[in-house]
């Protein structure tokens, strides 16, 4: 059977702080995202999961510089694009679902204006066509009474509804790839479940590839087809979600699972990462020859 070419191919991506002594943040990261696949990036703080997402979007903070490797979207290396070419790709081919729906929306602009930024700037839609499209987008994300919601300001709607608006905005230009950066971390569990369901539904119906950044192995288990476990900017383990969670091959993945509290069994969630696992991780980081990791 022929393996389809990946939608997103990250090959040997390294990144570091721009200022000396150039602390490494990503160490030769390789990962593929196929069309229509949800690929989870999991790890604790400092693992580099958000840095990978930002590198793909071309929005790394100035303090961070890529220092090796390629990021190819359908064959085009994004790191080599001019700012103008990258600007054409952002929104239309890659979009972001951010973590915090409150800070991601401008408090002084109505929902309609923020939702339709992409459609106005990149599709040049105006007038009734724009209005109709906005209503259709909100219907897609199951928001009742879209006309009324479009007139509101962000503070006038609930957190779950704000996150739905951002999902609608991300899908508005029908991108090939979406980076979802901890999109449900700020939400209550019941709202989280609805939002996860919605992202999955939209992603399936549009055939979108998704990079799903999260620290929550439960969310990964229920949403991601494949996953990459990261530690200190390096890939620790990668593969099918069900296979890895059922039988992790790396002791760190095992330790993360053991440290995760469970609502469906007793006696979980109090086992920290064993010292020998932490020591082995530090030794692996050292093998990359880029200095020690920040995260111990």
């Amino acid at each position: 059977m022929m393996v389809p070419a990946p939608l997103l191919a990250i090959d040997g991506l390294s990144a570091r702080l721009r200022a000396p002594p150039h602390r490494p943040l990503l160490r030769s990261v390789c990962l593929d995202v196929r069309e229509g696949e949800v690929h989870g990036l999991v790890g604790e703080s400092g693992a580099g999961k958000s840095t990978i997402g930002k590198a793909v979007l071309g929005i790394l903070p100035r303090a961070i510089e890529p220092c090796g490797g390629t990021i190819r979207l359908s064959g085009t290396d994004l790191l080599g694009l001019s700012p103008a070419r990258l600007d054409a790709v952002l929104g239309t081919e890659i979009a972001l679902i951010p973590q915090d729906p409150m800070t991601a929306l401008n408090p002084s602009r109505r929902i309609f204006d923020q939702l339709t930024d992409g459609l106005r700037l990149k599709r040049r839609l105006r007038g009734q066509a724009l209005r109709d499209k906005a209503v259709a987008l909100l219907q897609d994300v199951q928001i009742p009474d879209p006309e009324a919601v479009l007139r509101r300001y962000p503070h006038e709607i609930s957190g779950g509804m704000r996150q739905r608006i951002l999902i609608a905005a991300a899908f508005s230009l029908d991108p090939k790839l979406i980076i979802a950066d901890e999109p449900t971390t700020a939400l209550d569990v019941t709202v989280q479940k609805e939002v996860l369901r919605l992202i999955r539904k939209m992603q399936r119906s549009h055939g979108t590839g998704v990079v799903f950044v999260t620290h929550d192995l439960g969310v990964v288990a229920q949403v991601c087809d494949r996953l990459t476990v990261l530690y200190g900017g390096m890939v620790v383990e990668q593969g099918e979600t069900a296979a890895i969670l059922a039988a992790p091959s790396h002791p760190y993945t095992r330790a993360l699972l053991d440290a995760t509290p469970r609502h469906d069994r007793t006696g979980s969630g109090m086992r920290p990462i064993p010292p020998q696992v932490a020591a082995a991780l530090q030794a692996e980081l050292a093998r990359y020859g880029m200095g020690p990791g920040a995260h111990v």
């Binding site: 604790e44 209550d188 439960g218 288990a221 229920q222 979600t241 509290p261 969630g269 920290p272």
Partner: protein
């Protein structure tokens, strides 16, 4: 300890409807609920940081519902709080020694124990080296800062400690250490601990009993094992069903209704 209380504010903006609960001596009580459910208001009422507009609050059998600050002072040492964010709750200009010192000054003295011995004992109780006493909060890791926050609370040798969402910003590996530490401290110091969290999985890990809150009311209050195995209310069942388990379940995402969030309520 017997803190039975009802608490409500003016009808125009009622935060808590009359609620009744008891925190027993040596018990770890979980208080769980979604945002806006009133769990933090309840916690602060238990510490008498708010004066209730109705009902009664008693601590160790003494009614403190309407006690003034002077009358409350002896109780303040006996009830302490661990805050969510150790970054913002520890004074950045003070060394750890100073941060813990004011609490230690209030604690009953152990005969023959010097000030620095008391400091070392308190740090050791939370698993920190006494060498950290001369550091500033920014020189510590997030996990170490949270341990200092716990040390600050137990420095006065309290009988009741309120912990409000203290692990929600932590990585799972650090969270596991903090939960294990709390369990151990509660046992060793015979503490009554009220542990507020939005995370039922964490509650199951740590607590003996749990109170489920919704819209300022207690929905269910039961021993942890009972509640998780056989929730009595539809609301609790809904909360449990909404927690993703790290075991893939192909039907989970599609199961269950909800959509109550879609009512256009402004966020609190």
């Amino acid at each position: 300890m017997n803190a039975r209380k009802s608490f409500g504010s003016r009808p125009r903006a009622r935060i808590l409807h009359p609620v009744s609960l008891t925190v027993r001596r040596g018990e770890i009580l979980g208080i769980v609920g979604e945002s806006g459910s009133g769990k933090s208001s309840l916690g602060r009422a238990l510490l008498r940081l708010h004066e209730p507009t109705g009902g009664r609050l008693s601590f160790d059998g003494i009614d403190i519902t309407h006690s003034g600050e002077a009358a409350l002072r002896p109780f303040r040492r006996r009830m302490q709080m661990i805050f969510q964010d150790p970054q913002s709750s520890l004074n950045p200009r003070h060394r750890i020694r100073t941060i813990l010192g004011s609490g230690l000054d209030l604690a009953p003295q152990t005969p023959g124990e010097s000030r620095s011995e008391a400091l070392a004992r308190t740090l050791a109780a939370v698993g920190l080296d006494s060498a950290l006493a001369d550091r500033f909060p920014h020189e510590l890791s997030g996990g170490q800062r949270q341990r200092v926050g716990i040390a600050r609370a137990i420095a006065t040798r309290p009988e009741f400690v309120l912990a409000d969402e203290i692990v929600s910003g932590l990585d799972v590996s650090t969270q596991a250490q903090v939960l294990a530490l709390l369990k151990q401290l509660a046992r060793e110091l015979s503490l009554s601990l009220a542990f507020i969290s939005h995370d039922l999985s964490v509650i199951r890990t740590l607590c003996d009993r749990v109170v489920v809150m919704r819209a300022g009311r207690i929905v269910e209050a039961r021993p942890v094992a009972d509640l998780f195995d056989a929730p009595r209310t539809a609301y609790t069942r809904q909360l449990l069903d909404a927690i993703p388990s790290p075991v893939p379940d192909p039907g989970w995402l599609e199961r269950g209704p909800i959509d109550r969030d879609l009512a256009a309520t402004p966020a609190g």
